[in-house]
Subunit: 620 residues, 2 copies
Amino acid sequence: MVEIMGTIRFEPWGREIGTDGQSSLLRLARHHGLPIRAVCGGKKRCGTCRVIVEKCEGRLPSPSPLEREVLGDLLKQNYRLACETVISGDAVVRVPRESRDEEQVILSTGARLVRPRKPRPPVRGYAVKVPAPRLTDLAADRERLLSALREVHGLKRTRLDPLVLKKIPAVLRSQEGHVAVYVRGLREVVDLRPGSAPGPCLGMAFDVGTTTVVGYLLDLASGMQLSVQTASNPQAPFGADVISRISHCRESNGRLAELQELVLNCLNELVAAACAEAQVSPEYILEAVCVGNTAMHHLLLGLDPTHLALAPYPPVLQGALDIKARDLGLRISETGTVHLLPLKAGFVGSDAMACILATGIHQRAPLTLLMDLGTNGELVLGNREGLICCSTAAGPAFEGGHIRCGVRARPGAIDRVQIEPGTLEVSFSTIRGKAPVGLCGSGVISAVAELVRAGVLGGMGGFNQDLDTAGFRKGTEGWEFVLVPSSETPQPHDIILTQKDISEVQMAKAAIRAGAILLQEARGGVPIEQILLAGAGGSYMDPADAREIGLFPPDTPVDAVGVGNAAGYGACLALLDERKRREALKVARSTGYLELAAEPRFQELFVSSMFLGRDGGMDL
Amino acid sequence: MVEIMGTIRFEPWGREIGTDGQSSLLRLARHHGLPIRAVCGGKKRCGTCRVIVEKCEGRLPSPSPLEREVLGDLLKQNYRLACETVISGDAVVRVPRESRDEEQVILSTGARLVRPRKPRPPVRGYAVKVPAPRLTDLAADRERLLSALREVHGLKRTRLDPLVLKKIPAVLRSQEGHVAVYVRGLREVVDLRPGSAPGPCLGMAFDVGTTTVVGYLLDLASGMQLSVQTASNPQAPFGADVISRISHCRESNGRLAELQELVLNCLNELVAAACAEAQVSPEYILEAVCVGNTAMHHLLLGLDPTHLALAPYPPVLQGALDIKARDLGLRISETGTVHLLPLKAGFVGSDAMACILATGIHQRAPLTLLMDLGTNGELVLGNREGLICCSTAAGPAFEGGHIRCGVRARPGAIDRVQIEPGTLEVSFSTIRGKAPVGLCGSGVISAVAELVRAGVLGGMGGFNQDLDTAGFRKGTEGWEFVLVPSSETPQPHDIILTQKDISEVQMAKAAIRAGAILLQEARGGVPIEQILLAGAGGSYMDPADAREIGLFPPDTPVDAVGVGNAAGYGACLALLDERKRREALKVARSTGYLELAAEPRFQELFVSSMFLGRDGGMDL
């Protein structure tokens, strides 16, 4: 138990924080989610974390060399650096406007994303003073704690997570009955800490993708994002897409448990990395939210995903789920809760629901087509009058998979290509400007779009045979176009696009376009006013390229916008605001679902949508 | 997963049970809580488990030699022995009245104990047929299961223990959607099994005593007691009474966890032993109830008991508690729940509440004094108009502790003594008639009472110095009386009662009597109409001996009755009937508590109650 050496009031927020006489003001403030600016990240280099010590009744150390150098005459006005200053005893510290990092308090929002409101987190801290027991009042510790909560904060019928019971006797007696009580959903006490200043109350949001897992560490009270960590999904070696991962599970009995363990280890590593970066204990994380496609959701919970691959593709559950972190094996506080957002169907997961939350299309007027493009494409069409969704197996082409020279989006991956009409001279850009190693998803789309623009590819996807350029040649698998000769790449071969690559792109985009057309027909053919591109495959794609190859249904507006990792952002919204969870349930229930496997016209539309070009299909 | 080879309907109950083609009819019936009589316990010896096979569409083996011998001509009337008969395929089996063990279905009740009503257990099985998923109905497995529960059984707003989710896909598909669903408190699904015949739904009740732990395995549907197991509390080497065990916890940090682990191991061994005896899997145990004194309750939960030993002795909690078996570490079904009955105060535990439930004194007219005598004496006085309780530290004399030749109640322990007035010739009985090894609690009380009756002991507890008998002598620690010379015992010494032993008994009984008098005064001095003696110390004591030494308050009736392990019986009632749990909460809340430490007259009454003799105190 840390001994509290005094209380520091941070102005202008009026937030009182106990000091242990060892942590710097910056560290204390960050632990409690107060946004003090520190460009160097607290490494005592930048001098941006200036604060004014307005009052100090305890020990205040003399200025450090860095403070003398950076602050100079400001020292006389009681300015100090928060990173250098350690106070024992009671004090009042004012954080001036220039040192407040309030722009970054709230999760950064992309274009077209819903702005978060003031957090209304599921877990909140309450300060109470629990009276000591008396011979004339024989109420037990738990009962006195619960009546204090009822009397001071009006929290009725609150119960305790049984594992919190063990903390009660010591916590109630450590600070003369002053206790910070953390309550979930106004009903369940999930943590107790001694002292009157409720300490940090943190949460993690996870976007569990087939290929990549992202974890966001947030302060639940302020909404401040403390860390973002990314890792490859360690299940990937057991199947690049969900279907092959499901098949892997069916091979023998222990496989499902193995895959669950792998993804849990990955989440636990993200928790540890995020906590290390933010210098907080995982014990302070009392809530987590997970989103993912239905197969990832099932594997995370250890649920047999077999039936997701068999018509009619029923998931094991589709509503939301709360599960204790200890029951799942997630190493946050053992009394913390993991919330899984609802999903819609076997191939429309909670990631799609999170994308809807993030973009708010269910609350807005323009009829919007939301395309979450990965190995599986999830499409949502609608507006505040209603949504309808479907899922199409696009294949991995949008992520650079199944492409001869395709690579993941990593440094050196070609993400944009330009081909000069006439000369057919190729120029390109790569991620982080490194030497080119291959084409990532957006590079593939860009290359195909440029070949169409330059007249090299015809509408049916065939190369124009009359071309007379060194870059166009017949290879072992048919015609191919050289984008980068091997002399200009560290690879031992030319970076090329083959006829088969073109077909992969055609099939991927045809599946998406056919699905989008069927959604539009289901909405009575009303014109689409806006297109949002999300997900690993969608958000890095140039919308103009997507239009050029004919990804969109006919007569759609030019206005297509990439919105980044909308699923992860939606998970953060649901972490910070319990109203968003109810919203997700409503959305999941009310959104219509179109099972393309049951649509007789899908096959016909798929074939006609193979056509490359702005019109995008032969049906026009 | 056991393959089901047919369904057997047991008449007259109409209960349908799936057969695996390998288990005998007796075994099937017992697993499902049907009371078929089998005096030999199913060992194929007694021939009492006669049943009539009214219809059999599958394979019925020809009669065994035992069946031919025992049944003779009855074989022609389709009589068979349930222990010998294994049926594959559908069948109807009638259990005739003479083979029904309905007298023993319900937990055996002692005199003055509440008779259990038809069980209304917290967990019940429901049979449903869950429709298969269809392309036109995209409800997930969980959602289809829950709507079937709602539609067929009217169970609304039911949720699942998250760990049950893993079972869903296989169970829903194993018997064409026929599923037995086990629901706790009409709200939480805690188990799922394939097939339409709900299998056994079992429960364990535990009485966790300072010295002895008893576990009862019951069938929740029928109330049948399947096994009773007893073990010594393995914490005993770390302190014979609760105060020394609490002190042990305070010595170093890991001690509490060690004591918790010891008692949990003990409960887990009782579970394993009970399941082995009843030939059932611990997975079928979906509910447990624990009672114990407040210190045992805290140690079981791993709660710091330190403050129980410090005025004002506040417990960590006093209301009831539900905790998942997996969170406690009890190895029944991982989705099972452990319910801890409420307690009243630091020294009036849930065992006292269970005694009240068991004896029903809160619902009856006679003003009753309930004495639960162990190392700690818990006293309850009252009737349906109200109860008041107190706790007195009697010390271990009533259990044979702190007595020179005291032993636990085990074979060879002297439990009754007779001393011929005049000749002072001693005769005695021992437990199971074994050679005498020492005095157990009831033997000590019996010996003291006889010495009083014979005029050997005076009212102040001093030996009559004028005695002239070889058995009366001065030893190293003062006067002593020889009950059994060493020649008549396997012990290397005489079995004696010393002056110090007499003092121990005087102090123990004085504490109890003083507490009882104060309770009576708190009830306005109304005459006590009935005395019930419970607990290890109380229920084996001869009430006449108790009266002889002056254990009871003045002017109490002759009618004192031992009621056995009322606490364990009360735990069984609460296991079988959720209404009893609500009753326990009401009792715990409404029962008054008298803190003897705060009673100025206690000390004076304690001293005057040391007086030995029928009047029991010098105050008369």
